[in-house]
Symmetry: C2
Subunit: 212 residues, 2 copies
C-alpha cells in the first residue's frame, strides 16, 4: 500500500509502517474488519474470494453454502486470509511520498470444517451476536436442513502478521516548503439509514448493528 | 458473501446474486474500488496482499517499492486480483436468509512490469489524476531515482468475472410474518475532514479527492 523504497534504516523509520506479530494487534484488526479476502490455490492458480469472517478466541471462521465451489475447493488446504482497513489517504509534496494509512492482518493456515450441527449453530449464533447483538433470539429458528446446507470453515490464528501505517506524510526536509497541501484525508465507513423491506410492517424495533 | 443454498432455480432467482462477465460491469466495479487484494502463489502457498489498483482501458495497474518481496514474487506469475465493495447488510427473518449487498470483480491473468521510465511516469500520473484530479502538476516532480525505486505491475482485464448482490431480503412466504425487522442497513464509505500535516502552512488549497 505504499511506494516507499526502503533503501536505508532512516527511510524505514520514516515510512511509519509497523509490522506486528502480537496477538492483541492481530485480534484487534480482525475484530475491526469483518470483510476478508481468502486466497487459495486451485490447479496451481491463485484465487481470492471475499467473505465475512468472525473471530472466536484464537480462530477465525467464515461460512457459506454447502454447494459453494469456493468452500469445497479450500477445505483441507493451506489458505491465506487477509483483512484490510483503509483509514486514510496520505498526501505528500511529491508523488513518491504519497501513501495510505491502513491496518491489515494476514493469516496463513490449514482450513477445516465445523461439522457437528450443534457446534455449527453455536458458531452462527456467535457471528450474529457480534454483528447484530440481541438479534438471534428474535429470529425464526434455524432448521436442521438449513444447518446442513451451511458450511462453516475455520482457520487458526497462528501464523499471522499485521501491518499498520498511520503516519502523517514525512517528506524529506528539502521538499517541505513545496507549496502544495500535505496531510491525511481520512476514509470513514459508517452505517447508513436502515431501509425496511417492502413487506416489513411498521413498528418493529430497528436492529442493533455493529459492523467492525 | 452469502449462506444461501442454491438447491433449485427458484432459490437461485431469490438469491438475487447476479454473475456478470461484460466489460462495462467489471470496469465500473474496478473504478469504484481502488483497494484490491492480489492473490499469488509462493512455494505452492497462496498469499493475499492489499494494494491500490487503477484501471486504464483494458488493463489494471498497481505499484510499490522495487524492494517489495510481494512485487518481486508476483512478477511473471499468474495472479488473481479481486476488488469488493460492501454496500450493505441484508437482514432477514431467519439467520439463513441474512446476506450482504455487495459488488465484486475477480481478475485472473499474467503479471507484467512496466519498465520504460517515461511510461512508468505516465502511469503514475494517471493514478494520481484519477484519485486527486489536478494535483500532479502541483507536486515536486518525480526524480529518475524515484522512478527507478518504483515498480509498476499490470494485468489484462481479460479473464474476469463480477458478482453483484443488491436485493432486499427475500424470506420464504411462511417467514414473512415473523415479527422481526427486515431490510437493508447500508454501509457507506466517505471522506472525512482533511487533517493538514503539522508542517503544512495555512492557506494552501485543499486537494480534490476522488476515491472510488
Amino acid at each position: 500500500m505504499s511506494q516507499h523504497a526502503p533503501t536505508d534504516r532512516t527511510r524505514l523509520r520514516r515510512m511509519g509502517h509497523k509490522a506486528a506479530h502480537d496477538k492483541a494487534t492481530i485480534h484487534a484488526i480482525l475484530d475491526a474488519c469483518p470483510v476478508a479476502h481468502v486466497g487459495y490455490v486451485v490447479d496451481g492458480a491463485p484465487h481470492v474470494t471475499p467473505t465475512l469472517q468472525w473471530r472466536e478466541g484464537d480462530r477465525v471462521f467464515w461460512h457459506g453454502s454447502a454447494a459453494s465451489r469456493f468452500l469445497r475447493a479450500i477445505l483441507g488446504t493451506q489458505a491465506c486470509l487477509t483483512v484490510t482497513l483503509t483509514d486514510g489517504l496520505v498526501l505528500a509534496r511529491s508523488g513518491f511520498e504519497h501513501s495510505i494509512s491502513y491496518r491489515s492482518a494476514m493469516l496463513f493456515g490449514p482450513v477445516q470444517a465445523v461439522t457437528d450441527p450443534a457446534e455449527k449453530e453455536a458458531r452462527l449464533k456467535e457471528m450474529m451476536d457480534q454483528m447484530f447483538p440481541g438479534r438471534w433470539p428474535q429470529l425464526r429458528p434455524m432448521t436442521a436442513q438449513e444447518l446442513k446446507a451451511t458450511t462453516i470453515l475455520t482457520m487458526p490464528i497462528d501464523e499471522a502478521s499485521a501491518k499498520i501505517s498511520a503516519e502523517m506524510p514525512d517528506d524529506p526536509p528539502e521538499d517541505r516548503l513545496w507549496p502544495v497541501w500535505a496531510g491525511i484525508v481520512p476514509l470513514e465507513t459508517r452505517l447508513g439509514t436502515p431501509e425496511p423491506a417492502p413487506d416489513c410492517p411498521p413498528g418493529l424495533a430497528l436492529p442493533q448493528v455493529k459492523f467492525g
